[in-house]
């Protein structure tokens, strides 16, 4: 059962299994283990980024395609949900339709970009995706009448997913283990289970016959062609599937934030973060997405606090507190990355699997 769910691709390392189990359990029980607006928000972000990073790993790690347009597809999904909920009505139906519309747009754009540029050298493809992604980001921030411009759009979710919706008030007194049973909790579990489903779907994909061909193409496209696999078709299909998954992640992000804007969904900064998460976790492993996203999002959210605490602790020692001052958190985040890439060139997962 578990083997089938994980598509026969087990973590293959005891430490890694424990780490993954730990992360997944924490995410599954986050609202109960760490009640609090900020902690649950962090957990939801981790779930969403796991999907986004995994879908990017399908491209860069499994197929060997470098793309800079991944956040664009993420944005399509997010804006799709926003448009659906704003222009249709405040229902699940409109939300789903919006997400599907975003995913469809992402698929079409991915196919067009792929057909035009996946037959040329990898570097051109990377450049073209960069150009298209920048153009789309500018477009979305300029078309303020439709997209809300730089300010983005806020919208209302179906009532069931809002904090005002309460359930279990008669039977459980509206609480379970002290946690309020409301729409926000439901929204979290919508995000969590969607992420689980999408991740397992991707895991199946990379371990399918199709996924094996992608690896072959990454290893030696010349030979893959010579044994009968039309390389371009496989690459376009992979980038299309990856785009659809990224759009789904974007839709979840919009649902969680109840807001979309160019800064949160389309910016190059997110693209770079995704790249870092893939590298930290380990390319071509998919499990790397879980580790990478968890480490990165936690660092992004809590490194500042941690350093503040450390600085206070070392108050009496000269100089050190200045280095550890909370304002320097970005510097230390950078140091963290350099070190992790230096010591784990194959990522955390690659490293754990080897030992």
């Amino acid at each position: 059962m578990i083997r089938a769910l994980l598509s026969d691709d087990l973590p293959r390392s005891r430490v890694l299994t424990l780490v993954l189990l730990g992360i997944v359990l924490c995410l599954a029980l986050a609202p109960f283990l760490f009640p609090g607006v900020r902690t649950v928000d962090t957990a939801a972000r981790i779930c969403i980024f796991i999907v986004l990073v995994a879908s990017y790993d399908l491209l860069i790690g499994f197929t060997g395609i470098v793309s800079f347009a991944h956040t664009m597809f993420f944005g399509f999904g997010a804006y799709g949900v926003a448009f659906g909920l704003i222009h249709l009505d405040r229902s699940f139906w409109a939300m789903g339709l919006g997400a599907a519309g975003g995913a469809l747009t992402a698929a079409c754009v991915a196919i067009v970009i792929g057909l035009f540029s996946l037959r040329v050298r990898a570097i051109f493809f990377a450049m073209i995706t960069l150009a298209v992604a920048s153009a789309v980001a500018v477009l979305f921030s300029q078309l303020s009448s439709i997209t809300g411009g730089e300010d983005g759009l806020t919208f209302k979710l179906p009532r069931v997913l809002g904090p005002a919706f309460k359930f279990g008030t008669e039977t459980l007194d509206g609480r379970l283990f002290g946690v309020r049973l409301n729409g926000k909790l439901l929204a979290y579990y919508l995000v969590f289970f969607s992420a689980v489903l999408l991740f397992l779907g991707l895991l199946r994909l990379v371990n399918s016959p199709f996924g094996r061909v992608l690896k072959a193409i990454r290893e030696n496209e010349f030979r893959a062609e010579a044994i009968g696999y039309p390389v371009i078709q496989y690459r376009v299909a992979a980038s299309c599937i990856s785009a659809i998954t990224a759009a789904c992640a974007g839709a979840l992000y919009a649902i969680w934030l109840r807001y979309v804007g160019p800064e949160t969904t389309l910016s190059m900064e997110i693209m770079i973060n995704v790249l870092l998460m893939v590298v930290i976790g380990g390319m071509g492993t998919l499990y790397g997405a879980i580790v990478g996203a968890a480490v990165f999002v936690l660092a992004q959210n809590y490194l500042r606090n941690l350093m503040g605490a450390a600085a206070t602790l070392m108050q009496d020692i000269p100089i050190l507190p200045q280095f550890l001052s909370a304002d320097r958190w970005l510097l230390w985040l950078g140091v963290l990355f350099v070190l992790s890439v230096y010591f784990f060139p194959s990522g955390v997962v690659g490293r754990l699997r080897r030992s």
Binding site: A4, P209, G228
Partner: protein
């Protein structure tokens, strides 16, 4: 005489001003092994490239079983029945020996691009790969990565890949080059067994005369991209054209130098 399986008609490859293969017309029957010989740079490998599609013909055509395949991309030709083992080993370096062969078997399967099933549970493909492993005696190395394999074993695997693909036209480009004396027979026996099946066409680029003598039903000689001689082995070796092409040094002497 069995029917023609592969035919090239005025096949020419021009790179700028250089003509690598110059109007070669030749038909190859099923069940026959044709050795292609000639000095380095004579266009033997380019001739292979034209047939399998790595190079597109400047002019001329390639027919497989009467069907014009000259404009088909490489992958489509491979699916149609043109298979090739490469001169320089050309494998998937970070995948296991087993996976290299499994991928070839998968290429022939109906569910080659299935995205929902698990590749690890397609038993028939794994069995096909295992059978090929046995043929070339690489069973013990099945889980090794290609990059950890010895050169000789890589060459064997190169041949096993082609055997697994089992095309209509087998093209071997110096299959035993760089193999030790005790490794080569494994490959040569496989090629001999293939000949016995009588339903496949085999093309073999080879420099070693003993190999050619043992296996070839026919020899064609390429020189400066042109078809210089074509016939039964004994005939061709003695022909004036061959003697002249090698400037009187004798074919065998010239070939052994290479």
């Amino acid at each position: 005489m069995s029917s023609t399986l592969l035919r090239t008609q005025d096949l020419t490859a021009r790179f700028g001003g250089h003509v690598a293969v110059d109007g070669v017309s030749c038909a190859f029957a099923a069940g026959a092994l044709t050795a292609i010989i000639g000095p380095n740079g004579a266009g033997k490998t380019t001739y292979f490239d034209l047939i399998s599609g790595q190079v597109n013909a400047s002019t001329g055509r390639v027919f497989l079983g009467g069907r014009d395949i000259s404009r088909m991309p490489v992958a489509a030709r491979a699916r149609a029945g043109i298979g090739r083992a490469f001169q320089l080993t050309n494998l998937f370096p970070n995948l296991s020996v087993m996976e290299n062969l499994r991928l070839v078997a998968q290429s022939k399967s109906k569910r080659r691009a299935c995205i929902w099933s698990m590749a690890s549970r397609h038993r028939t493909l794994i069995e096909a790969a295992e059978q090929a492993l046995e043929q070339v005696q690489l069973k013990d190395q099945r889980f090794q990565k290609i990059s950890e394999l010895s050169h000789g074993d890589q060459r064997k695997l190169e041949v096993a890949m082609l055997m697994t693909l089992d095309p209509l036209v087998y093209m071997f480009d110096e299959p035993t080059a760089g193999m030790s004396m005790d490794e080569a027979p494994v490959v040569l026996d496989l090629i001999a067994a293939l000949k016995q099946r009588r339903d496949r066409t085999i093309l073999l680029v080879e420099h070693k005369m003993d190999v050619i003598r043992a296996l070839a039903d026919r020899i064609i000689v390429l020189n400066n991209g042109c078809l210089a001689a074509d016939g039964a082995p004994a005939e061709v070796m003695e022909s004036d054209i061959v003697q002249e092409a090698y400037i009187g040094r004798g074919l065998e002497g010239a070939l052994n130098e290479l």
